[in-house]
Symmetry: C2
Subunit: 327 residues, 2 copies
């Protein structure tokens, strides 16, 4: 088995660490915060996963050097906003081990995917992405979970499959790195819209249509950006979207519900009280659609609701009464 360095000690980082340790790997976790490191090292707990006892074999440190020392592979699990700056800090301690991005999102300023950011910063490293429908709590509980590992290099994929796979986790391979990460980055938009629809008392028919047509839009954009359409209908796209829409706890869905109630963007931000990725994602998709010349009616409608005073009911009517189309 492998010696794994996990960069980031949030719920997803700790869930991956726990699964990997239980599966026989040696795991070291890097934490940004001294007190988080302490909680992990001495109390064996993670604040966001209150029911979890972190396996004793996992070590945690605030030192990149210590965590990366001797590692076969790096899993990068920080928030996407600090991906580039964090990589710059640990780059000096890397040898030849591949770096697998387990964070989701785009770099907002540049609209660049996270694997591209990583490639810019680490041109000599092999880069992969790991994404799919996976609540951290469920992974810790051993709920059967299936994920996609995307990389250009099949040897990197095989290593990741080897270290993760058991009867509780199945890892599918993909060479469409961009498709895998774009699905995970853009699905929040649809989760946000499904929140608006739920608040408007739309039915299951509307919800199903929204998910289906939303994925069509996202996959069209992804295709223009160089990804494969099919990937959006796989675990990292459709699968992740389903899990996000199902989860009542999703910040993105909750934010959508508040917009559906008629709150302004300012009020929603205040109420949710933390970063709402989907709002960044909507802006990003809106800009990318213009840049690539793609028709994205749902994205445009929700953008107009957020920024141009369109009422959600008007948006629905607008979407329903568009020209006749082939599917």
């Amino acid at each position: 088995m492998k010696q794994v360095a996990i960069i980031g000690s949030g719920s997803w980082g700790i869930a991956l660490a726990t699964h990997l340790a239980k599966n026989g790997n040696t795991v070291k976790v890097w934490s940004y915060l001294e007190e988080e490191k302490e909680a992990i090292q001495t109390q064996r707990r993670c604040i966001q996963l209150p029911n979890l006892h972190i396996p004793e074999s996992i070590t945690c440190s605030n030192s990149f050097e210590e965590v990366l020392e001797g590692s076969d592979i790096v899993l990068h699990v920080t928030p996407s906003k600090v991906l580039r700056s964090t990589i710059r800090q640990y780059k000096p301690f890397l040898k030849e081990q591949p770096v697998v991005i387990c964070s989701k999102g785009l770099e907002n300023e540049t609209l660049t995917t996270l694997s591209e950011v990583a490639k810019q910063e680490l041109p000599n490293q092999k880069i992969g992405v790991f994404s799919g429908p996976s609540h951290a709590e469920e992974v810790c509980m051993g709920v059967p979970t299936a994920i996609v590992m995307g990389a250009e290099d099949n040897a990197v994929i095989a290593d990741v499959q080897e270290m993760f796979m058991n009867s509780k986790m199945r890892v599918y391979a993909s060479n469409d790195v961009k498709g895998v990460e774009l699905g995970g980055a853009l699905k929040n938009i649809i989760a946000f819209c499904s929140g608006i629809a739920a608040e408007m008392n739309m039915g299951d028919n509307t919800f199903a249509a929204l998910i289906t047509r939303g994925l069509v839009e996202i996959s069209k954009l992804g295709e223009k950006m160089g990804a494969k359409k099919e990937t959006f209908y796989g675990l990292s796209g459709l699968g992740d979207l389903i899990v996000t829409c199902l989860s009542e706890h999703s910040r993105n869905r909750k934010a959508g519900k508040l917009v559906g109630k008629g709150l302004s963007l300012e009020e929603v931000r205040k109420e949710v009280g933390m970063t709402i990725e989907s709002i960044d994602n909507i802006e990003a998709a809106y800009k990318l659609a213009k840049q690539y010349g793609i028709e994205m009616p749902i994205v445009n409608a929700v953008y107009d609701v957020l920024y141009n005073g369109l009422k959600p009911e008007e948006a629905v009517t607008m979407l329903m009464t568009r020209d006749k189309k082939f599917e």
Copy 2:
């Protein structure tokens, strides 16, 4: 607008009739049962849709001749089991109007799709299929709904779009007739499996993986049968699957839950007390997979649970520990 003949007075037939009448079409409904006709004609009600008052303009009759007389188009909405025999009865009263199949399923004895059955019986008629995520009650309530109309002939599609489309219903066009109907016919299998998973307390991760990988299997089979893969990711496939899995009232999901509890097929049939399409569908897909040489691990697993004494837990482990695969 059109004069529409609707063959079948179940909940879906009546929901379509109601929507079409409200949208300005002239609608006549054929009912198999004298008492159902009476309830519709005199009391304006449908037993399966207790909250609906059927618009006065809709007429109902037990006579094919009366209902088909002067119609521009026929919507066929009977149970799939009586599709062929019903067509044989009304064939003498058809002129040149197209026949649109709104029923779902396969002919079990022959594993033939319903549009193919219709083509065999009505070689001179233009045939279409109409399918998508659409609870009848929601259509009656005016919940925004999106559906696919599949036909080879674009003029037939345009007519159907014209008569249905308004701010509550959007009809997408497709020339992939087989894809549209196979999605609707086979999605029940996954709904059934999601019922088993729910009963086993699998989490959202498992549910999302099941839906995603289930659709992959179904679309593979469909492709071999001559349909387009994309169609399975449209409203009639993915969309309909979502609506089915969400609905707690789904017979198929309920049947799956009972199997998850450990009941035998006999006991499940007794408990559910009516036709469980998904069980027929599983058998059909199992046979078709063999016939076309397709790997369908989920279908095989659920088949073995139903017929070969495999335990659901064993089936999950089997599915999770298959060989490493590309997505």
